[in-house]
């Protein structure tokens, strides 16, 4: 048994690997263009190239798949020579930083010929927790400011106006540590300032103060850092570092490219100081990082979780309703094969199970919502969780129920009818055991083995039903998310959704097999 489960588990892994590879290839080989899908049809070629480069989509297929699977931070570490760490800012953004020897976190940007270093102290999670509770006072002012993270805070200001030592050629790590200590004291005063003054008061006189106000517990110090340039063979200088939007990048001195970044809501932003090549940083699928959605620029994992929860709520409620009802009706139909009850139930069940989900959904919307005006015909939750609006759940659940009911009913009926034909039931009747006793004690127990396992195998099909139902009612679930991602060719989101669906499908199949051995002791897997 253990061997069997192990073998199946191994097969699950292989399946997931093959599927992920196939999805990558299919999405890759298909016509159409992510940049155009995400950013609109009217982007210029430079904008498109810049977008593709920043997302790492100009890399060869094999390399992208490898990065998606295993992550790319270890490649970045090899290139830069620093430890790369991922931290979560207070607003829930994930940021990558390079960690220096003395526990400061570093990122760089390029301005003209100068390399600008951004540092912040590195905190372990427990430290930052305590800091959060202490810095609630200044967080009110931080909400007023419009910048969404510290990344954008000090980008356009003259960054070298901070407490940096005059940007000489040699800035060692020891000097940066002294800066961080001095900056913490400076920021302490600046945060005091900030609590007194309005947020529009902090002009260019203290950019570090502005950044500290925006992300209350950390202080980002900027300074020139031209000592890190490395000479290449052909005489130019280059530097591999971490930029401020989670890439490991290579800058070349005097050869800054133009960067187009797309800021949602405000359009394209053109800036100089672009690097020569990008490696987007991620941890990789195997370490639990689904990557960033190309469509929304948000981590896939987070949005997927909410969607998955919504879908689970929908499927769960439908399942709880369908199972007892279908098993009961199926047994009633199967007790006497060929009777009117049987024919009626099985034909009705068949009809409901073969009508496409969207047609059933439309019928229900028209009848229940349009003509009878009982319940809303769409499921739009906004920020709310599905269970907070039960009236909107009625129609989606009803649609799913009708579709699944027919299928399970027919399986149960077939199984029941077969059991009722078997000799031991006849014997039981002839012995004079009461009718319902025979049905419940002798027949039902055996008849339910098949449906329970087949239902598990049916999950595959059920998921299809859920996707359609979600689209029909505008329900914000996993299926809708997957459909949108597929239409946009948002490969990270597709991969993540696919993996979850395959895992659920294959997992339930495995569960069905295991369940079957327990329910039917005659079967042993060896």
């Amino acid at each position: 048994m253990a061997k069997f489960i192990l073998r199946r588990f191994f097969l699950v892994l292989i399946t997931m690997f093959l599927v992920s590879l196939a999805v990558f290839m299919i999405v890759e080989s298909s016509p159409g263009n992510v940049a155009k899908n995400v950013l609109g049809a009217f982007i210029t070629p430079e904008q498109e190239a810049s977008f593709l480069a920043q997302q790492g989509l100009d890399k060869p297929l094999f390399q992208r798949y490898w990065f998606w699977l295993m992550g790319s931070d270890w490649v970045g570490e090899r290139k830069t020579g620093f430890d790369l760490v991922q931290i979560e800012t207070k607003k829930g953004f994930l940021e990558w930083w390079a960690r220096g020897d003395d526990n400061t976190l570093m990122r760089w940007s390029l301005e003209g010929e100068d390399l600008i270093l951004h540092t912040r102290p590195f905190k372990t999670p427990s430290e930052s927790e305590s800091e959060k509770s202490s810095s609630t006072v200044s967080s009110t002012s931080s909400k007023k400011s419009s910048g969404n993270s510290s990344v954008t805070s000090s980008s356009s200001t003259s960054a070298n106006s901070s407490i940096s030592t005059s940007a000489s050629s040699s800035i060692s790590t020891s000097s940066s540590s002294s800066i961080s200590t001095s900056s913490s004291s400076a920021s302490g005063t600046s945060s005091l300032n900030n609590s007194n003054t309005n947020s529009d008061n902090n002009t260019s006189n203290n950019s570090s103060g502005a950044s500290s106000a925006k992300d209350s517990e950390i202080q980002i110090v900027t300074q020139k850092d031209n000592g890190r340039w490395q000479a290449s063979e052909d005489g130019t200088s280059f530097f591999w570092g971490v930029d401020r939007s989670n890439h490991v990048v290579m800058w070349k001195k005097g050869a800054a490219t133009e960067v187009w970044t797309f800021v949602a809501g405000s359009g394209w932003m053109k800036s100089s100081g672009g690097p020569q090549s990008y490696i987007p940083l991620k941890k990789g699928f195997l370490r639990g990082d689904f990557g960033e959605s190309l469509r929304t620029g948000r981590p896939v994992g987070k949005s997927l979780f909410i969607r998955l929860r919504n879908s689970m709520v929908l499927a769960g409620i439908a399942f709880v309703i369908v199972m007892p009802l279908a098993l009961l009706l199926g047994m009633i139909a199967g007790i006497k094969e060929g009777s009117f009850k049987d024919r009626f139930l099985s034909i009705a069940g068949m009809i409901f199970s073969v009508i496409p989900e969207f047609a059933t959904g439309i019928f229900l919307i028209l009848i229940m919502s349009h003509w009878l005006e009982l319940v809303p015909g769409a499921a739009v939750f906004g920020e709310k969780a599905p269970w907070e609006r039960p009236d909107m759940l009625v129609l989606p659940v009803l649609t799913l129920t009708l579709i699944e009911l027919g299928y399970v009913l027919r399986i149960t009926r077939a199984s029941m009818a077969e059991v009722m034909r078997s000799p031991y039931i006849r014997t039981a009747f002839l012995k004079g055991i009461p009718f319902w006793n025979v049905i419940l004690k002798h027949a039902a127990k055996n008849a339910l083995i098949a449906p329970i396992t087949v239902i598990m195998l049916h999950v595959n099909w059920l998921m299809g039903g859920i996707v359609i139902v979600e689209v029909v009612f505008g329900y914000p679930g996993l299926g809708q998310y997957l459909l949108d991602s597929a239409l946009y060719k948002d490969v990270n989101a597709i991969e993540a959704g696919t993996m979850i669906m395959v895992l659920i499908a294959v997992g339930t199949q495995l569960l069905a097999d295991i369940l079957y051995t327990f329910l039917n002791p005659r079967i042993r897997y060896s």
Binding site: L11, I14, T15, L18, V19, V23, I26, V27, S29, S30, P31, G32, I347, M350, I351, V354, I355, P356, E357, F358, A359, T360, I362, F363, I365, L366, H370, G377, N460, W461, M463, G464, V467, I468, V471, V472, G479, L482, L483, A486, L487, K489, I494, G497, T498, M501, V502, A505, V506, Q509
Partner: protein, 372 residues
């Protein structure tokens, strides 16, 4: 002429013998393990006909006169065709559900065939003065948001499903999109299943594991990825249906092949030194076709289901074409405006056609099981 008379005579003979043969087959099922495939088929009669055909072929091939063999095959095929048609009709007549299904399906086939003659407007003809209207004398089912006649769009939609496959704007191929999808999946599945079942060993293992992996992916996901990747067009819908259907067909064909390859006539053709292609497609496949045909009937239903679903998700035919699924998707937006008809009729159409096909298949299977 001569052939025809012979074949009809033989079919009559076949008809008279039939009851005995059925009893025989029952005995065979009980006594002999090698005819397991009879159990797998849903229609015993069909299999009997084919078995006798196989017998004919066997004797002919032992004489190793190709001309005679071909003639024998032709006769056997013709006879079995006529016999099957008659049997099917008899079965249909006796089953209410099957008749209901047949009537529904025939209705849609008729509508699809006659679409240009029974509609007053073209499917893309717009009437700006009458958008979003309910049923009236001018438009029997009403109009959609662009004032297009719903009845003519429905009829032409049936055409796409059942009668023609629009390859692009100009080129149309006979045979509906759903039909082509089923055919393509039959072809791919049969090839894989035959090779896998006949070769066995590593080939079998690799093919079947790959197909298992494919089957474990949720169907809807497969459709989504394929069509989203290939783009929305009728040909791509066919490809999607084919890819999704292939594993199922391959499994069925493989299980049939595993049984058939142990038969003597396959042995004989191996001994004769026939090529692999000949053995697979001339010996094994014709003897496995009974169950495959019944399976493919159900598959047409699934294919129409899939077409509708894809159309609804916006992955079906490109917009102006009268695709049922996309008609529903478009009409859904106008329910709140007060025009439920644009989404109701195509939903009803697709539901009735799929239900009709399933009723037909169900009734046939039920009735044919009665004779087993």
């Amino acid at each position: 002429m001569e052939k025809n008379s012979r074949s009809t005579k033989e079919s009559v003979a076949e008809k008279t013998i039939n009851p005995d043969e059925i009893i025989n087959s029952d005995e065979i099922i009980n006594s002999d393990e090698t005819t397991n495939s009879d159990k797998a088929t849903n229609s015993g009669e069909e299999m009997d006909v084919e078995q006798s055909a196989a017998c004919d072929k066997e004797t002919a091939s032992e004489e190793s006169e190709t001309a005679l063999e071909e003639a024998g095959q032709n006769i056997a095929m013709q006879r079995s065709k006529i016999a099957r048609l008659k049997d099917a009709f008899m079965i249909l007549r006796s089953s209410g559900t099957a008749m209901t299904g047949l009537v529904i399906v025939l209705f849609w086939v008729f509508v699809a065939l006659m679409a240009p003659y029974i509609t007053a407007y073209g499917p893309m003809e717009q009437d700006w003065k009458a958008p979003n209207q309910g049923p009236s004398m001018e438009h029997p089912l009403g109009t959609d948001e662009l004032g297009r006649d719903l009845w003519s769009r429905l009829a032409h939609g049936a055409r796409i499903v059942l009668i023609v496959l629009p390859v692009n704007e100009k080129v149309w191929i006979p045979g509906g999109t759903a039909i082509w999808g089923v055919f393509a999946s039959l072809f791919c599945g049969a090839c894989l299943g035959l090779i896998s079942g006949y070769k066995g060993g590593w080939t079998d293992e690799i093919i079947m594991r790959l197909l298992d992996a494919m089957m474990s992916i949720p169907v809807i996901l497969l459709y989504l990825i394929i069509v989203a990747a290939l783009g929305a067009s009728a040909v791509n819908v066919v490809i999607a249906i084919a890819i999704v259907g292939t594993p199922g067909v391959a499994r069925l064909v493989r299980s049939l092949t595993l049984d058939i390859r142990t038969r003597d006539y396959v042995r004989a053709s191996e001994t004769r030194g026939e090529t692999l292609f000949y053995i697979l497609f001339m010996e094994i496949l014709p003897n496995a076709k009974g169950p495959i045909i019944i399976d493919s009937m159900l598959r047409v239903g699934y294919a129409i289901f899939a077409m509708g679903t894809l159309g609804f998700l916006g992955l079906g035919m490109p917009p102006p074409s009268p695709d049922w699924g996309s008609m529903v998707a478009k009409g859904r937006e106008f329910i709140l405006v007060g025009n439920p008809w644009a989404s109701l009729w195509p939903s009803l159409a697709i539901a009735s056609l799929v239900v009709g096909l399933n009723l037909l298949a169900d009734g046939l299977r039920e009735e044919s099981m009665r004779y087993q």
